[in-house]
Subunit: 225 residues, 2 copies
């Protein structure tokens, strides 16, 4: 059984000027609704866990009415750090879950083929992540807007989500994070702590994360394309 864990607990002020970015609408559906639908309709996904803010249950119940999901879904509550939210989501998966696909609720454009490829790789190797090769020239700055070094981009990748794992693997990796009091930037970094290789799955389409309402025209363009 494969569970999608959609991290939609947000950060910052939900009622700030931007409102909750996850609920910004594109094509009449909130950003996080698009993300939910992609996993709900995906043939390799059996259930969806949404990790939400405790005060957002009402909005997400409304969203469920709007989407009418065909797969079982449940809610978990976010923690203080992203890794706490992810852990709460994984714990809410069904008992017979073998694979978890962790996805940012603010990435509504991921293509189903990339999701399939990432799930296949995680089943075979234990861990995988959606990624794109870096094509621009990359420079290291000195911290004061001056170039200090040219960086060889040959083997550089930019990683997004989904990040997909055997559930036993990610739980073991998270225990290592706790035991070492480590702070990790993303879920694949936890795998490094236990020597678990992570397979890079080249994303077939741009898979940006919405950060402000200024991103919406591009997101709309991608969702219509």
């Amino acid at each position: 059984m494969t569970t999608a864990v959609i991290v939609a607990a947000g950060s910052g002020s939900r009622m700030g000027e931007e409102g909750n970015k996850l609920f910004l609408k594109v094509n009449n559906l909130p950003i996080v609704g698009h993300a939910w639908k992609i996993f709900d309709l995906h043939p390799d996904i059996d259930e969806v866990v949404l990790v939400i803010r405790e005060d957002a249950s009402f909005e997400f119940e409304n969203l469920a009415s709007e989407i009418s999901p065909i797969k079982p879904y449940s809610f978990a509550f976010g923690g203080s750090e992203r890794q706490d939210s992810v852990r709460n989501g994984i714990r809410a998966a069904s008992e017979n879950c073998e694979i978890v696909a962790i996805h940012d609720g603010a990435r509504p454009c991921v293509d189903p083929e990339t999701v399939s490829n990432a799930i296949s790789a995680a089943k075979e190797y234990g861990a995988s992540v959606s990624a794109t090769k870096i094509v621009d020239t990359i420079k290291l700055s000195d911290g004061h807007a001056r170039i200090s070094q040219n960086i060889d981009r040959t083997h550089l990748w930019s990683v997004q989500t989904p990040q997909v794992f055997k559930i036993t693997t990610i739980l073991e990796a998270m225990e290592a994070v706790d035991a070492q009091h480590a702070s990790v930037t993303d879920d694949t970094a936890a795998c490094e702590l236990i020597g678990q290789p992570v397979i890079l799955i080249e994303s077939k389409r741009p898979n940006p994360k919405v950060t402000t309402s200024a991103d919406l025209p591009f997101i709309q363009f991608l969702l219509q394309g």
Copy 2:
């Protein structure tokens, strides 16, 4: 006097399946025509040199008729490597040129404010480049699609064009490249050889390079935005 050098000599087969990507049309004007117009209309630019393929003079004369440039322009011919093309372009600048702004002909979306900021910085410090901070998580692969290392992105920038220089500085840097038989990935890398600092100028808008016709919808979206 400030000269824009637009590198439009292309590479690969001009008559290949994609045709010449520089002549792909967006909003009824070829990509390279948009780039030319931005510099032609820019108040800080006094003349434009286009570095073109020897067999493309006819197309560029036609393009000039279509654009009706208000600033003086001239053509130089491309060399075997990008740095040869850039050098030919710089040599074609007017005798009283002090600043050169080198720009990819395949980047039609650069915003005028970024061009102004880059020119100001080059006047003050000698060299500058349009750039954006890396916001995604970056990983180094082992060359076989596995993550081998987490990369700290704090000081990483992706650089584009324009790359702007005092003409004396870039000519000195290019001499150093020749003397050391160095191969440089971009014009700012030549500056590293002579210890010339390069200022990173944060680009105000996405400034992508067209590589195939698949990029056109996004380019069109940006040019309409």
